[in-house]
Symmetry: C2
Subunit: 360 residues, 2 copies
C-alpha cells in the first residue's frame, strides 16, 4: 500500500485513487492489448476507442447539445486566452471581460493583443475578495468573458453573470471548477478548462464550443490555432496528449459513478460548507473571500498575522497536508477541495486547525 | 507479469519497460512524497526537482552549450511549424525549406502563412524515396529548415544538409530521430521534437534554441507563442505537462545508463542493419527508401503486391507485432525501431518475415 497524504494543491491537483490505480495497469498494457497507454498510436483502434469514450462521457455528464463540439487540445487556459480572441474577435468588434483576479487579467492582456477589449467590471477595488455584481457593457460586445472560479482569491460565481447583452455570446474560463456542479452549456458560446484541477493531469485542455463559432472563426491564422482545424480532425490534427485524454476518460467514468455532476455538487457543497463553518466559528482563522462569493473549490483563509500563517503552513505541511500555502501573490492559506478531494480530508484538516488554534 | 507485445508503432511509440515500471509507482506517490506525479503542483519542490533534472540530463546527453535554452513546451511539431516562422521569420526575409515528405510539406505550408518561403530542394520526384543532395538556396535566407528523419517514407539524413548559406541558421524538426545518435547542437539555431517517439509520451515538445534567437524574436505575438516567454519563465509560463516532463526525465536517465547518445547510435545501427539485411536478402520483401537514405528509425518495406502486404500485416498483427502497417498515405509495412525497441524484437520480426516468405 502506497502511503498517500492529504493533497490540497490548487493544481495540478488530487485525482481519484481508483483512477490512478487503473492508470498504473494501463501504463504497461491498456486492457489486454500488450501495449501501454502512452505507447499506442493515436490513430490505432485502442486509443480511438479511449478518445471516443472520453467525448461521449463528457457529453453525457454535461448534457452537451449536438450543436457544440467537444475538443481536447493542448496549452491550457493560457493558450485559450489567445485562441479565443484570435478566432472570435473580429477587428471591428469589442469583447467585454469581467475581471475577477489574476487569471482574468491575463485573459484581458492576451485579448488586447488581438483586438479591442472593454473591461465591463472588476473586483479590483475589493482586492478581488468580491465578485462584481453590476457590469457596464460596451455597446455591442462580440462576447462576454468571465472566469467562473478564482483559485487565488477563493471566489466563485454562483451562476452565470446576469444581463449579458443580446447578440453577445458568453465565454467562460472554467479551468478550476469545471464539472464540480451541473452546467447549462446552452448558455455559453465557448467554455474552456485546463484539465489539471477537476479532470485529469496538466497538458490537456477541454474546449466546448458552439458549431457556428467554429465555422465563423478567422481563417488566416496558423492552422493549429484555428478551432476549425481541430474540429474537422476530431482533435487529431496533430498527435493529441494521449495519456491525458485517457486519464480524463477515467475521471469522467468516476464522476458518472459518483452520481454525475449533481453528485459532485452535493459532495463539494458539503465539503466546502464544513470547512467554511469551522473557519467562521474559529476566533483565529478568517476566510478572505466575501461570504456571497466564496468558492467551493478553493477555500482561502488567514490568521491575520503573517508569522502565524507561516507557522500554520509549516506545521500543517509536516502533519501531512500538502500544498496548503496560499498563492505566492497573496500569502495566507488555501485548501483546494476539488472533486477528488475526500470529505475525510476535510475532517482531518478541521481537526488539525482546531488543534493548532488551541495551542496558540 | 503484464504480457507485452512487440510494438512497432511510429508514434506514440514504445517506451523502456523499466521507465514505465517506475512511472507506475510514481502515479500514486512520487518518491516518498505521498502525492502522485500528476498531482504535484508544478511550482512545488518535488516537481521543480524533476524539471531541473530533466533539463540537466538533456544538456548532459546532447552536450548542449550554455548559449542555448532548453524548453519543454506543448503542441508537438505542429505547433513548432507555426512558432518557428512566427518568431523568427521577419516580414522582409525568406526562409528556405528542404522538402523530404509530408511533415516538411506541412512545415512549409504553415511557414507560408507567416512569411516568404523558398523550397530549396525536394525529394518529391522520387516520391520521397531519396533525400535531395543539392539545394538551390534563396539569396539571403534567414534560416534553413529540414526534417532529419521521415517516418512515412523511411528516410533519414546521415548528417546535416551541406552548404548552408553563411548567415543563415539551421532549424531542424528532429521529432522522429532526436537522441537516437549524437548531435552537434552548435550547428543549429533551433531544434524541435515532439517527445512521442524517442523521448516520452505525446503532449510534450522539446525545443533547443540559441539565446540570441530567443531574444531577437518578434514581440507582437500572443505571449504563449513567443519563445522568450517560455525562456524567461523556465518553461513554467503556464502549467507544463508535468507527467510528460517526468517521463522524459526517466527516459533521459535510461539513455544515460545505456551509454548515452553513442550507446543509442550503436544499438540503433545494429538493429536497423539487421532488418535491412534481412529485407535485402529476401526475394519477397523490398525496402522502399533508397539505400543511401535509409532511416535507422523507420524501416519501410513492401512485397510489391498490395494484397500480399495486407496478408502480411494481418498475420504479423495476429502474431503480436503491433502497428506494423505503413502510414495510411503510402501503404505497405513499417517497422519503427526507436531507441526503446529491443533487439530481440528485431530478431523476432526477421524470423516471422522469413517464415511468412517460406509459406508463400
Amino acid at each position: 500500500m502506497t502511503h498517500r497524504i492529504w493533497n490540497l494543491s490548487a493544481g495540478p491537483a488530487i485525482l481519484p485513487e481508483s483512477v490512478l490505480q487503473e492508470a498504473q495497469e494501463a501504463l504497461l498494457s491498456l486492457g489486454d492489448t500488450g501495449v501501454g497507454i502512452c505507447e499506442h498510436s493515436h490513430r490505432g483502434a485502442a486509443f480511438v476507442q479511449v478518445a471516443e469514450e472520453a467525448e461521449a462521457l463528457c457529453r453525457e455528464l454535461a448534457g452537451i447539445p449536438d450543436s457544440y463540439r467537444v475538443l481536447f487540445l493542448q496549452g491550457g487556459a493560457s493558450m485559450q486566452f489567445a485562441m479565443v480572441p484570435l478566432n472570435l474577435l473580429t477587428p471591428d468588434a469589442t469583447a467585454d471581460y469581467i475581471v475577477t483576479g489574476a487569471w482574468s487579467k491575463k485573459a484581458v492582456s492576451e485579448a488586447r493583443r488581438c483586438g479591442q477589449v472593454h473591461v465591463a467590471s472588476s473586483g479590483e477595488e475589493s482586492n478581488f475578495s468580491r465578485l462584481p455584481r453590476t457590469h457596464s457593457w460596451s455597446s455591442h460586445p462580440r462576447y462576454v468573458h468571465f472566469t467562473s472560479n478564482n483559485t487565488i482569491f477563493g471566489t466563485q460565481f454562483a451562476s452565470e453573470p446576469e444581463g449579458i447583452p443580446e447578440d453577445a455570446f458568453l465565454v467562460c474560463d472554467a479551468s478550476s471548477d469545471i464539472f464540480s456542479r451541473p452546467i447549462d452549456v446552452s448558455k455559453y458560446g465557448l467554455i474552456y478548462a485546463g484539465a489539471q484541477k477537476n479532470l485529469g493531469p496538466s497538458g490537456v485542455t477541454l474546449v466546448i464550443v458552439r458549431n457556428d463559432l467554429v465555422e465563423s472563426g478567422r481563417e488566416d491564422l496558423p492552422a493549429i490555432l484555428q478551432y476549425r482545424t481541430h474540429a474537422a480532425a476530431g482533435s487529431m490534427y496533430n498527435t493529441p496528449p494521449t495519456f491525458g485524454i485517457y486519464l480524463m476518460m477515467l475521471v469522467f467514468r468516476w464522476i458518472r459513478d459518483q452520481g454525475g455532476l449533481s453528485g459532485m455538487e452535493q459532495r463539494n457543497r458539503r465539503k466546502a460548507a464544513r470547512l467554511y463553518e469551522a473557519i467562521d466559528c474559529s476566533s483565529l482563522f478568517q476566510a478572505t473571500a466575501h461570504p456571497d462569493c466564496r468558492s467551493m473549490m478553493n477555500v482561502t483563509f488567514v490568521t491575520g498575522d503573517a508569522d502565524r500563517d507561516e507557522a500554520f503552513v509549516a506545521e500543517a505541511t509536516a502533519a501531512g497536508f500538502n500544498a496548503i500555502r496560499g498563492h505566492r501573490s497573496v500569502g495566507g492559506m488555501r485548501a483546494s477541495l476539488y472533486n477528488a478531494f475526500p470529505s475525510e480530508g476535510v475532517d482531518a484538516l478541521i481537526e488539525f486547525m482546531e488543534d493548532f488554534e488551541r495551542r496558540q
